[in-house]
């Protein structure tokens, strides 16, 4: 890894994400080790304050690329450089500790579905993201007392409440675990969690899919505010109104001529594997 200097000025906003020639395939060991290519030679650059929308039909690997950028998927080759004030990390070669460290503060991901933690109230699902990013509480060797935690938690919950209010989430829901919420309510919890900690790189996978017009506009505002604060955004927006409002550029997927022989990317590897009969 090398140190870089990020000069942020209007004319040349700093490069935040530099994806170079990334490819990815799944090897389905349960199906005679069949190879399923999903990304081929993807390159893209995103600068601070920019929002790049990935566009293309389903199965072209848009969500797969997001998961690769976030580190949930490995890649077969190429580089995915994330530049931060602390240095540059190649997500294609990063260790688990480096990925987790980047996720704690500099990289946020809003997926389509909330992976709800049992029993945790919605407001804490969101506040927790701030507590995890707080070096006084969560860095190795931090020695915060119970009182420090309580104070930080109270402040984090207050900020989560502000976001919930903006997103019109009824306050009666704040203290309930989101597992039983409707799709739109869960998505707003997810959005609040993604936006509460200012990130260097923000990944949005269909953040408005189950929202009504009023809340879609709130999400547009949140994205615009993040851009103004220098966040680089990569998003998938099937809603054209949202995409037109926030996207600085659109990148078609696949980024180069797609091999017509190759099947479409499964939503998840699990989906590809689940077509197999369940084996004990």
């Amino acid at each position: 890894m090398t140190m870089t200097t990020n000069l942020t000025n209007q004319a040349h906003p700093a490069l935040v994400l530099d994806v170079q020639d990334v490819h990815k395939h799944f090897t389905l060991h349960l199906r005679d080790s069949r190879m399923l290519p999903v990304l081929q030679r993807v390159s893209l650059q995103v600068r601070a304050g920019e929002c790049v929308a990935l566009v293309g039909a389903s199965g072209q690997g848009k969500s797969t690329l997001m998961k690769c950028l976030y580190g949930s998927y490995g890649v077969g080759g190429g580089r995915m450089l994330v530049h931060t004030p602390d240095g540059t990390l190649d997500m294609a070669a990063a260790t688990p500790h480096q990925v987790l460290s980047l996720r704690r503060r500099d990289m946020a991901y809003v997926s389509q579905f909330l992976r709800a933690v049992p029993r945790v109230p919605a407001i804490d699902v969101v506040a927790e993201r701030l507590l995890q990013a707080d070096p006084r509480l969560s860095d190795v060797g931090a020695t915060a007392s119970d009182a420090d935690w309580a104070e930080a938690a109270q402040a984090a919950r207050a900020r989560a409440a502000v976001l919930f209010t903006r997103l019109n989430l009824p306050s009666a829901l704040w203290e309930l675990p989101p597992a039983t919420f409707s799709g739109g309510e869960q998505q707003r919890v997810n959005i609040a969690r993604g936006f509460i900690q200012p990130a260097r790189l923000l990944l949005l996978d269909e953040p408005t899919a189950s929202l009504d017009a009023r809340n879609r506009r709130v999400v547009i505002e949140l994205i615009e505010e993040a851009k103004a604060a220098g966040t680089a955004v990569v998003g998938i927006f099937h809603d054209e109104e949202v995409r037109d409002a926030v996207a600085s550029r659109c990148i078609p997927m696949p980024t180069i001529g797609h091999d017509s022989q190759c099947s479409t990317a499964p939503a998840t590897l699990q989906a590809a594997l689940q077509t197999e009969t369940l084996t004990p």
Partner: protein
Amino acid sequence: MPLDHSHLTPLLEVNALSHRFAQARPDQWAVQDAALRLYPGEVVAIVGESGSGKSTLLNCLAGRITPTQGEVHYRAANGEQLDVHHMPQRQRRVLARTEWGFVEQHAADGLRMGVSAGANIGERLMGQGLRHYGDVRQNALDWMQRVELDTGRIDDSPRGFSGGMRQRLQIARNLVTRPRLVLMDEPTSGLDVSVQARLLDLIRLLVARMHVSVLIVTHDLGVARLLAHRTLVMRHGRIVEHGLTDRVLDDPQHAYTQLLVASVVTP
């Protein structure tokens, strides 16, 4: 730079560890060539089906089983590097009740069933020299609250507790001395789903706040997903895959991990 954690010293380091039980065939290894490092504040899950060797590995790490080959090194609070299997037994016993914790699958194995809940929590404190009865009792009350046990039952025997309550008591008993390393062997299996969720949530919060390092053995991928930063997959005594938990579960590379992930009804 902050993104680079290579400067961190592991708390626990295992190299080329293999174990064969005395009565086993010469080629029948319970654990074969296991290597792992556990860093401060990190939660690592070891997943695999019954008989994969995950509990044997955990017992080797805890010093309860002396492995046939390989070494386990632990970096003590005073900075000393200790060879877990070549230190005096007395020293290992002291570690086991101060810097280490071990949460058993069956709470009855980890608790003293003949004494009260409060005495179960207080035992390690008294072992560390806390003699004042009022302080020990106050600590026990605090910890009963932390693990959501009714403080009114401090003088009750854990025999009258449900499985979930016993498991929470066992966790309090282990964490009361703020250990640096806690090993957990299937802490949630055998409990009702709602009780499991409560216990997992509790472990998650306590671990985050206390920055304790945890190795948790589980056959439940959901437990790994919820708690662990990293996950190791074991099969036939070997670690076949390891990495970031969401990477291992969402993009498994090894055929066996793919089978495990595909066999889960709700991951």
